[in-house]
């Protein structure tokens, strides 16, 4: 029986490796191969040469400049907030963390559109807040791109800093205080060094996310003539005249940069790890803001207003206007655009439906595949385990646009006898490949929490492996599977870059619809779709989580 189990395990490992190789590894390798070889000759500097000869150095510089600026902006925004909600009496306001999920859950391209509508000439600002229009030229420039991206990304670095601050127990600070350290001295010598490892992880994460982001540069950046890696990759692989040499060269450099940063991040994480969680943990040291409390609240209020209020207010009002540019009066308000989206047969209606069903399929496939991989990773050991683990999480590290270019290179190859390229299935496959890591991680996490003795008890009681899986394993990893499903669904339903690049001719998704309406068509209709898409993700989240809770109780 043991032999049979081993065979099956080997079989499963082989299947997992084969699947990951075809789905993820080959596409990524194809991007690299394509950019490093010219006329079948390999040269390690080819991508750089292509970029320099193609006058793309500016793109490289733009991306790096944007990454660094966004890291600085997000830090400046998030650090005071993290301090307020961890070290002062404002920590009691737990709802702040929940509210910060909103900018995090809003797709960057939608938030950016909201901001453009807000700032653009004769937009909200000029009409109602004329004193702010001095910022208009500043917004329609590099700084606006960096600003909007920072408003989308700061919750990441906020959570990192906050969790770190919470870990620093009061006893460390007290020790500093007892030895006569002033507030600033304690900041400098105790808190900041302890923060460094966590912060550098967060900062590098933001940097990578900025480099890999397509939505904001594609909506605002292209409008103001600011081009970065992702928009240029899109341009060269999708728009006339197509130039795969330049496109893949940029993709490779982007890929390698991101990989390097992840590597550096791991190094830092391992090197600067202080063990600050001792046996006894003292309480957190809290500072009272006293009469300056209102300043703390004002800061939080302003932040939420800017990162949530502004984009959503612009999107919602725009979606209700009969036509864009009209004054906001009762006569100009209409629900027609929403009605159109829910009318079968219209372009909007079918786009929405395409997004929903493709995301359901992708989420379902990703859930089963991710569970299979996650369980396999926890159960196996050694090199193969590490291989499966890192390749199933690869899509987390590799920018999405690079994976998508790889998928196109592979599935559109002339030597393939048959292909799903140019069918709806290809879109679902792209979503699965891009978002597989979520399910794998969630399932792994829930599996690792299960006490091994449960399995031993079952074995001792004579349960067969299938029975153990059904009655012990699956019920316990179910929350992980469901979270994976939700996350995949939510992100797929609004996914822009994969949809734009891979959609077959007759399939339009909600994201491509929004993008095109905003760019060339009816802005209110696009904004109605934007609000509906975000609404759907929230509703699905609430329903599934509510269902989970009910099941847990029942």
């Amino acid at each position: 029986m043991r032999a049979k189990q081993t065979i099956r395990r080997h079989g499963n490992t082989a299947i997992a490796i084969a699947l990951l190789t075809v789905l993820i590894l080959i596409p990524v390798v194809m991007v690299l191969l394509r950019s490093f070889t010219v006329d079948r000759v390999f040269h390690p500097l080819n991508p750089i040469r292509t970029i320099l000869e193609g006058e793309l150095a500016e793109v490289l510089f733009n991306s790096l400049q944007l990454g660094i600026t966004v890291v600085i902006f997000t830090t400046v925004i998030a650090a005071p907030l993290a301090y307020l909600t961890s070290k002062t009496e404002l920590a009691r306001a737990r709802w702040i963390d929940v509210a910060l999920l909103i900018p995090f859950m809003t797709p960057p391209y939608i938030a950016t559109m909201g901001w453009i509508l807000f700032m653009q000439p004769r937009g909200v600002v000029e009409e109602y807040l004329p004193f702010l229009s001095i910022f208009q030229p500043l917004f329609f420039s590099f700084w606006g791109v960096a600003f909007v991206m920072s408003l989308n990304l700061y919750p990441f670095i906020y959570l990192v800093i906050k969790n770190n601050l919470i870990e620093i127990t009061g006893s460390l600070e007290d020790a500093g205080a007892v030895h006569g350290g002033s507030f600033w001295y304690r900041m400098r010598r105790i808190i900041l060094p302890l923060l460094l490892s966590g912060y550098s992880m967060g900062a590098l994460l933001i940097f990578v996310k900025t480099l890999a982001e397509f939505g904001t540069p594609a909506t605002l950046g292209r409008r103001v003539g600011f081009y970065v890696f992702t928009t240029e990759i899109y341009q060269y692989t999708r728009m006339f005249p197509i130039d795969f040499a330049r496109g893949t060269a940029l993709a490779s450099v982007l890929l390698i940069t991101c990989m390097l940063i992840w590597y550096v991040q791991q190094l830092i994480a391992n090197k600067y790890k202080y063990s600050i969680v001792g046996g006894r943990s003292g309480g957190r040291k809290m500072y009272s803001l006293g009469k300056f409390r209102f300043l703390g609240w004002a800061y939080i209020g302003l932040l939420l207003l800017v990162s949530i209020g502004v984009p959503y207010w612009s999107i919602i009002t725009a979606s209700l206007l009969r036509f864009w540019g009209a004054d906001i009066t009762l006569a100009n308000i209409t629900f027609d655009h929403y009605i159109e989206l829910f009318t079968p047969g219209t372009l909007g209606g079918s786009s929405l439906w395409n997004s929903v069903y493709l995301s359901v399929i992708a989420a379902t496939i990703a859930m089963f595949l991710g569970t299979f991989l996650g369980v396999l990773i926890v159960r196996s050991r050694g090199f193969l385990q590490r291989f499966i683990d890192s390749s199933s999480l690869l899509s987390n590290t590799v920018p999405r646009i690079v994976i998508v270019v790889g998928l196109i290179l592979l599935w559109n190859s002339p030597w393939l006898p048959a292909t799903i390229y140019n069918t709806a299935a290809m879109v679902a496959v792209a979503y699965v490949v891009a978002f597989l890591p979520y399910t794998v991680q969630y399932v792994k996490a829930s599996y690792q929490q299960i006490d091994i003795s449960l399995f031993h008890a079952a074995q001792v009681s004579g349960a067969k492996p299938g029975y153990i899986n059904r009655r012990i394993l699956f019920p316990l990893i179910r929350p992980g599977m469901v979270s994976g499903w939700i996350m995949t669904f939510i992100i797929s339903v609004r996914e822009l870059v994969a949809s734009m690049m891979i959609r077959p001719p007759h399939i339009e998704t909600s994201a491509t619809f929004i993008f095109r309406q905003f760019d060339q068509g009816v802005i209110p209709l696009g904004m109605a779709m934007a609000f509906t898409t975000v609404g759907i993700t929230v509703v699905v989240l609430l329903i599934v989580q509510g269902g989970q809770k009910q099941l847990g109780n029942g």
Binding site: Q120, P121, R122, R223, T237, R238, M239, F240, P241, I242, F323, W324, G325, L347, Y357, L358, V360, I361, T364, I365, M367, I408, N412, S413, P414, T419, Y421, N422, T423, A424, A425, A428, R471, F474, P475, R478, V482, W485, P504, P505, H506, E508, R516, D519, Q520, G521, I523, G547, Q548, Q550, L551, G554
Partner: protein, 328 residues
């Protein structure tokens, strides 16, 4: 315990429904049409064709750059049977690649003169460029391109970016072809007067609708007439020194899997019905015997520049570079 199974079953069920919906998607024997240009028109023509012939249409609707990019990316595994673009020179590029098949559709003899390239591609419709202005802000718009160089129009005149708008590039190139140095002087004076060059056609028009700019040079006519019909405070005229009328070409591919379907589609594009759809969108019909929309200026009354599309295709890169140097 049972509850967990219910969750899994529900999810599987939803997945199966999805798979069903998605395999039921693509019927056989359809005509694949890649079309640029106004989405409403492309869809009306596709639907009209489906109703009339019973042949299914797979419509990919995007911008000209997008459609060309897709054709190029798919060159090894081509897909499209019919291609419809918004730019005449772009069709010429496809012809030079050897990607087009010759076919003379019904009613081709009724096309406007010069709107048929040897039966490889033909202009089933056309758009013209003009001066669009906000009627609340501008009482006396003048008559020609040169009327927007004085102080009255400082910092309120815009133009679509020729790098992003093919029709605007055609205008700039065509104007340079006709007027040479005089054209460059005009662009320089306009630039000195604060001409804003940004974005594709639609945002440029929107900026006049919302009075962010008072005037757009080289604005697309059918969009303007559409905005007027919606009640926006805009109007337009065609400058007397001439403008560009860009026939929007339709063609079938040499690799088409369904040539009969593609031919039927081209026939339909020149039918009375489809030409009427064209006119309804305020676009100039391709057939000389079909009247334009009563609320717009007809083709015969638009002062047109002498256009040599071959020269323009060859020189537009150079013209664009010089134009951008003037603007920046």
């Amino acid at each position: 315990m049972k509850a967990s199974r219910i969750v899994v079953m529900v999810i599987v069920l939803i997945g199966l429904v999805g798979v069903f919906a998605f395999t039921a998607g693509e019927p056989e024997e359809s005509v694949v049409v890649y079309s640029a240009g106004p989405g409403g028109l492309a869809r009306n023509i596709a639907q009209g064709f489906e109703e009339k012939t019973g042949i299914n249409v797979d419509l990919y609707q995007a911008t000209t750059g997008d459609v060309l990019g897709r054709l190029e990316a798919e060159a090894d595994r081509p897909h499209a049977d019919v291609v419809v673009l918004a730019s005449w020179p772009a069709a010429f590029a496809l012809y030079q690649n050897g990607w087009l098949a010759q076919y003379e559709p019904e009613n081709a003899d009724k096309l406007n003169e010069g709107w048929n390239y040897d039966n490889y591609f033909f202009g089933y419709s056309a758009s013209a460029l003009g001066v669009v202005y906000n009627t609340n802000e501008v009482d006396d718009p003048g008559e020609d391109w040169g009327d927007f160089t004085d102080g009255r129009f400082r910092d309120v005149v815009a133009m679509p970016d020729p790098a992003q708008s093919g029709s605007c590039l055609d205008f700039v190139t065509g104007y340079v072809l006709n007027y040479g140095d005089e054209a460059w002087e005009l662009f320089e004076t306009l630039a000195a007067n604060g001409l804003e060059v940004a974005g594709p056609n639609r945002p440029a028009l929107d900026s006049v609708v919302t009075a962010a700019n008072f005037v757009v040079l080289a604005g697309v006519d059918y969009m303007t007439y559409g905005a007027m019909a919606e009640g926006s405070p805009v109007d337009m005229f065609y400058p007397e020194s001439g403008t560009v009328v860009n026939p929007r070409p339709a063609m079938m591919t040499s690799w088409s899997n369904n040539p009969e379907g593609a031919q039927a589609f081209l026939d339909y594009m020149l039918s009375d019905e489809a030409q009427q759809f064209v006119a309804d969108e305020y676009i100039i019909p391709g057939r000389a015997d079909v009247a334009a929309h009563p609320d717009r200026v007809g083709y015969a009354d638009i002062p047109v520049l002498d256009l040599d599309w071959d020269w323009m295709a060859e020189n537009q890169g150079e013209v664009l570079t010089r134009f951008q140097q003037i603007i920046r």
